[in-house]
């Protein structure tokens, strides 16, 4: 018993070893909304105050809504054309409304992430590419989201511009290649209670992704188009919100085809209007820093990313 305790202490000591030097900068996506509902004039860089693990921290750069932005638009349309086509139309409409400083790179997620078009401001070309996207395959959001974030994270590290990932997805828990539905295998087993909580597998997947995504600094925005009311689907849809929240993004949901334009519009609007703060990190910093961002204007609500898992340099 004593030796087991010593072993536990040793293991704890190894885990609690000093944090290795991490990255020198940290990007924090911030969404600001007027409490009355509409956005006001952009906030000046000097108005932001940031603390890191309780200590005041230096802001290197603040990218504001009018500044350049690269959107990695990931289309994940594998289901019903009834949903996919209105989604394409709404996405094209939103792209055509984008300011000049917004570049859009187009990818598709079904059956693995693929680049369709490099970031561009050529709206017509993007519209044509989106119109021609096939609606087929297996849903791709969950298996590709880490890769998409990793790409966006690299872009953030190489540039001061804002970068965000926007998924437009009609995915559902049933259409993944990975088994989240845990179907009944032995129909004669009438005493099975293990499927009384059918959302378990999905929750575990989301928890894993939520943790892993905190290693990448890019925000993820999701417009989900295919709402379903069963427990696994609810867990999935809530999971998409958790993933977006964890990265400082937002998730919007539509329950019918008439809501699709609204959900996509919301996803674009929040992404285009987000701020990106670049923070200088001290030499030694904990791997999970506590971050607090404040602005003096009390009439505006502030949401920002709080969860980071800093990786070694």
């Amino acid at each position: 018993m004593k030796s087991a305790g010593l072993l536990l202490l040793f293991a704890a000591a190894v885990w609690a070893a000093p944090v290795k030097p991490g990255p020198t900068q940290l990007r924090i996506p911030v969404c600001i909304e007027n409490k009355q509902g509409s956005d006001d004039a952009p906030i000046e860089a000097k108005d932001f105050a940031v603390t890191l693990d309780g200590a005041s921290s230096r802001l290197i750069d603040v990218q504001r809504p009018g500044d350049a932005l690269v959107i990695l638009l990931v289309m994940d349309l594998a289901g019903d054309l009834t949903v996919a086509e209105p989604a394409k139309e709404a996405t094209i409409a939103e792209i055509k409304k984008l300011p000049e400083a917004v570049f859009v790179g187009l990818l598709r997620a079904q059956d693995g992430l693929k680049v369709i078009m490099d970031p561009t401001t050529d709206h017509d070309a993007l519209a044509g590419a989106i119109e021609s996207l096939p609606v087929s395959g297996k849903s791709g959001l969950l298996p590709t989201i880490e890769v998409a974030c990793r790409i966006a994270d690299s872009m953030l590290r190489k540039s001061t511009t804002r970068v965000g990932v926007l998924y437009i997805t009609d995915s559902n828990a049933q259409n993944y290649r990975e088994d989240f539905m845990n179907p009944v295998i032995n129909s004669s087993d009438s005493h099975d209670l293990s499927r009384q909580f059918p959302e378990t597998l999905m929750r575990e997947k989301i928890s894993k992704l939520e943790t892993n995504l905190t290693a990448w600094q890019s925000p993820v925005f999701v417009a989900h188009l295919n709402y379903q009311g069963d427990r696994v689907s609810e867990e999935y849809q809530n999971g998409l919100k958790r993933l977006a929240d964890a990265t400082g993004g937002v998730a919007a949901f539509s329950r019918s085809t008439t809501e699709i334009p609204g959900a996509i519009e919301h996803g674009f609007a929040v992404l285009v209007s987000h701020y990106s703060l670049t923070l200088a990190l001290p030499e030694r910093v904990s791997s999970n820093p506590q971050i607090k961002v404040t602005i003096p204007d009390a009439d505006r609500s502030l949401t920002y990313r709080t969860r980071y898992r800093l990786r070694s340099k």
Binding site: A13, A16, V70, D80, T82, A84, P86, F103, G105, D111, G112, L113, V115, I116, D118, P119, A125, G128, A129, S132, L133, P134, V135, K138, P143, T144, I151, S154, R157, K158, S159, R177, E178, P183, I185, N186, S187, S188, D189, S190, L193, S194, F197, T200, E204, S207, K208, E234, E235, N238, K241, S256, T257, E259, G262, H266, N288, Q290, T306, R307
Partner: protein, 922 residues
């Protein structure tokens, strides 16, 4: 022209997956470096067409890795609370040993040298095994040891008064009987002497009955009252199962995807035994197996047209695992029966489904076309009563015409059944049926804020046929040579392989979704649908009479003469099989197949309003209507050979089977068996509901659903229909209607650990505090309507499910409702002899106790690394160990001999069950 070229170029990028840089304005330097990084990263990750094949293969594998899980779920009675129904019997253990284990693995298919991983072929393989030993409990009533020797001196009725047993051999006509007056104790039609001291002499006991009684267990408890509920069974059963599902999907040329799935499951369901011998009346051990295979091809013809072709075959097989000698069935109600109706069976069901669905988008229209053909094969060997079934009633030991005298078990002791049936089944039946569907739907976006979906589904249903035409029914139009009346046996032939017409039906539906004033926060939905279903092929060899022999012997007068004498057994069959004479099944309970054009029809309508509220809360309120007609009902609710209740005026004359038969529409048959296939039922359900969903916020998600509903029908319930000729009078609350239901489910990621509210440890302690989550469900429902029934039914066999009478001016509700006083039985009465009851089949206001259930699961996830995790879970089902009351005794006796238990609840049920789970995922 240039635009066309650009469009073609763009199409080529998309279809071929080419990633090229279209002409665009020059980006600022910061964006430029970001885009360069995008190109580098996507190339290195193999996400571009210009990535090298090696990089592509390696990197795509990074997105589509081998992953899966290994798990074990464990249950044992030492973790559980002793179920209330067992604790109330004074026992302390309910055996449970259960292990459920398995794995799932999925990923790209790669076979070194044979099939290098190109990430276009994927597999998934799941296995699950179950090993279980679990006990089942049951509280029954069996005869006392004294009763078994014929000693009824201490036997009492439901009111505690001595139950007199009469000697059928002493029966004689009462010379003083006045036929103008009802039979009563003062005007008996027949005289019969009670057994001296209410004891049947040993010499009179039937030897076959005595032999059978050797296998009847002794009473082992005394819950009561009056020796009722005196046999408690806590019997184990052993269940095993092994199953696998394997899936492979392959994509080729971007436009095609083929998926194949194969699944199998083998299992043994070892039924708990009510008796430890061959007289066990409980279910037989059963061996199950199922096989399923499917092949799906998805063809993406263009970005706006997709075709899905699927072929699926399902085969299930179940057979009795019982190897003991068949024991006859003795029906001894209210006592527990001996023997089984179907001791042996061997059933296979194969289903072949071919489906093609085309989806296409044209402007604002999304069109969906589905063609489906389903073919069913049911191969069934299921002989009913192969060793005979004997039904015993109180009539032969009663004082003829006087209720609350005589006893079914006493008739058994004398070996005097009032009905005896047996079968000769030589071969299985091979039933076939087809069902075709053609469905076209159009989802049209009328405006940005208004969408409408219209569909029409056409079905074609063929009747049941038999591979060798070995099926038959009673034709209502064929003349029976025995009596010259309509109704004779009709066998299938090549010319008429099925007895019902092939039916075409068209079911429309329409739905709309409207964003009120263009707001995405409020959506109004409305829908209407009508659909038809067909009469399925059940397992069992119903409607094969003539090819199989079903002999039925019915007492000429259940108060005076037995159907046969038990000791003598069944007489030998007169005709060899097949016996397809039109009058071959005269005198039996004949199988009657509905030959009309009726099919079950359902329709529904609903309207809902969804509103997004502050705090990520979605509220949905609405109401729904659903209804149906021609629903399939069984013998209790439909009897095409029933006698009109108007015949009750003949009173005791109805006990004469010859006279009784003459009143039936088809007097040559004792009855009809419609086998849950008679399309006659009707129902309507109206419901209003409110649903609240709280989306994930600070780790908490919550969903609550409340419904208030009212459902009525003319068929449901445990006892059946009183008046087959006036179904309007049977219109009452559905037996399983729970007018109020509330269900809540929640999930909470505990805010513990780094960047969380509590215990934000970033050192080693984080591994202890992070990854905890709770999920739970709560379900509360009000009770179902109480189905009252009289203890006695003296209607000469005209009414099979008699209702009770209401006592005028007496409130059936009680002010202080509790288990010993759930409702007021004095508000009801046994109807007088040869009259109908006036209370509805299910009471409009009295309800059985409601039910509550609360389940909770706690889980802890430990991430070994980003790809590997271990999750431990502990799930508590009914974790509050709540006891749900049993239903009250709803049997109503006579005013002179009331059921002392009426309106009282005996016991409760349920208990906490814990399941521990461990899962490693990778």
């Amino acid at each position: 022209m240039r635009k066309l070229l650009v469009a073609l170029e763009v199409s080529a990028w998309c279809v071929l997956g080419l990633a090229q840089q279209p002409p665009a304005r020059k980006p600022p330097a910061a964006v430029d470096s970001a885009i360069e990084e995008f190109k580098i990263q996507t190339r290195d990750l193999g996400l571009r067409e210009d990535s090298s094949p090696a990089v592509k293969a390696a990197a795509k594998g990074g997105q589509q890795k081998i992953h899966g899980r290994v798990f074990e779920n464990f249950r044992n009675d030492f973790l559980d609370a002793v179920p209330h129904e067992i604790a109330q019997r004074g026992e302390t253990k309910s055996l449970l040993r259960r292990n459920q284990f398995g794995f799932n693995i999925a990923g790209p298919v790669a076979i070194p040298r044979l099939l290098p991983s190109r990430n276009d072929t994927f597999f998934s393989l799941s296995y699950e095994g179950v090993r279980e030993r679990i006990s089942r409990t049951s509280l029954q009533t069996i005869p006392t040891m004294a009763e078994r020797t014929g000693d009824y001196s201490a036997v009492v009725n439901q009111a505690g008064q001595q139950l007199p047993i009469y000697d059928p051999k002493s029966t004689r006509v009462n010379p003083g009987f006045d036929p103008s007056q009802p039979v009563s104790l003062t005007n008996l039609q027949y005289l019969r002497d009670p057994f001296p001291n209410n004891k049947i002499p040993a010499a009179r006991l039937d030897p076959v009955a005595q032999q059978g009684l050797q296998l009847y267990p002794a009473p082992n408890t005394n819950v009561g009252p009056f020796n009722q509920n005196n046999y408690f069974v806590n019997s184990p059963e052993t269940d095993t199962a092994n199953g696998m599902i394997g899936k492979v999907d392959h994509s080729f040329r971007e436009r095609h995807r083929v998926t194949t799935e194969l699944a199998f499951s083998n299992g043994l369901l070892g039924a708990a035994k009510l008796f430890p011998n061959e007289a066990n009346p409980g279910a037989s051990d059963r061996i199950f197996s199922s096989r399923r295979g499917s092949l799906e091809h998805v063809y993406t013809a263009s970005s706006q047209t997709v075709n899905t072709l699927t072929f699926e075959v399902t085969a299930t097989h179940s057979r009795s695992g019982d190897t003991t000698t068949d024991f006859p069935q003795y029906q001894l109600s209210p006592f527990l029966n001996m023997g089984r109706s179907y001791p042996d069976f061997n059933n296979k069901r194969n289903t072949f489904v071919l489906t093609d669905g085309i989806s296409t988008r044209r402007g604002k229209h999304s069109l969906h076309l589905v063609l489906q053909q389903v073919h069913y094969q049911v191969n069934t060997f299921w002989p009913q009563y192969p060793a005979g079934s004997y039904h015993f009633s109180s009539g032969l030991t009663s004082l003829p015409g006087i209720i609350d005298t005589g006893d079914a078990f006493a008739s058994f002791l004398l070996g005097l059944p009032d009905l005896a049936q047996t079968s000769r089944v030589s071969a299985p039946s091979y039933f076939r049926q087809s069902h075709g569907t053609f469905s076209l739907s159009d989802s049209y976006e009328i405006r940005k804020d208004l969408a409408i979906t219209v569909s029409l589904t056409t079905t074609r249903d063929t009747p049941r046929t038999e591979k060798y035409n070995r099926q038959s029914t009673i034709s209502a139009s064929l003349i029976n040579p025995a009596n010259g009346l309509p109704g004779a046996l009709l066998a299938a032939s090549d010319a008429v392989p099925g007895f019902r017409p092939t039916l075409w039906r068209a079911g429309p539906s329409i739905g709309l979704a409207w964003n009120v004033r263009g707001q995405s926060k409020t959506v109004v939905r409305a829908s209407f649908a009508r659909s038809y279903s067909f009469i399925p092929v059940y397992t069992g060899q119903w409607a094969t009479q003539g090819f199989n022999g079903y002999a039925a012997f019915v007492s000429p007068n259940p108060q005076l003469e037995p159907a046969l004498v038990l000791a003598n057994g069944f007489p030998p069959p007169t005709f060899p099989l097949p016996d397809l004479r039109p009058d071959a099944v005269n005198g039996t309970i004949a199988d009657f197949m509905d030959q009309s054009r009726r099919e079950p029809m359902y329709q529904s309508a609903s309207a809902t309003v969804e509103r997004e509220l502050p705090g990520s809360v979605m509220m949905t309120a609405g109401f729904s209507y659903s209804g149906g007609r021609n629903l399939l009902v069984s013998n209790g609710a439909a009897n095409p050979n029933a006698i009109s209740p108007n015949a009750l005026v003949y009173r005791d004359q109805l006990n004469d089977e010859t006279f009784n038969s003459s009143l039936r529409p088809f007097p040559q048959y004792k009855g009809f068996d419609v086998y849950s296939s008679y399309p006659l039922g009707k129902y309507q359900r109206d419901a209003g509901f409110l649903r609240l969903e709280k989306r994930a916020s600070k780790g908490l998600t919550l969903s609550a659903y409340y419904e208030v509903s009212k459902q009525l029908d003319d068929y449901s319930g445990p006892y059946g229909t009183q008046d087959f000729f006036n179904r309007h009078n049977e219109w009452s609350l559905t037996a399983y209607n729970q007018p109020q239901r509330l269900s809540v489910s929640y999930s909470y990621e505990l805010p513990l650990g780094v960047n969380k509210t509590f215990l934000p440890f970033s050192d080693w302690r984080r591994y202890l505090v992070e990854g905890w989550s709770l999920s739970g469900t709560a379900a509360v429902a009000s009770g179902t309507p109480i189905a009252l029934h009289p203890l006695f039914n003296n209607t000469g066999g005209v009414i099979s499910a008699l209702h009770v009478n209401a006592v005028p001016g007496v409130d059936p509700n009680v002010s202080d409702q509790n288990p010993s006083n759930w409702f007021n039985p004095a508000a009801f009465d046994q109807p007088p002899d040869f009259t109908l009851g006036d209370v509805a089949r299910t009471h409009p206001t009295l309800r059985n106790p409601g039910s509550q259930n609360y389940d909770l699961s706690v889980s802890k996830r430990v991430a070994v690394d980003p790809e590997h995790a271990v999750e431990f879970s502990a799930a508590g089902f009914n974790f509050l160990n709540h006891a749900n009351w049993n239903d009250p005794d709803a049997g109503i006796g006579t005013a002179s001999a009331p059921n002392v238990n009426a309106g009282k609840i005996i016991g409760s049920r349920g208990g906490r069950v814990i399941q521990l789970g461990l899962r490693f995922s990778f």
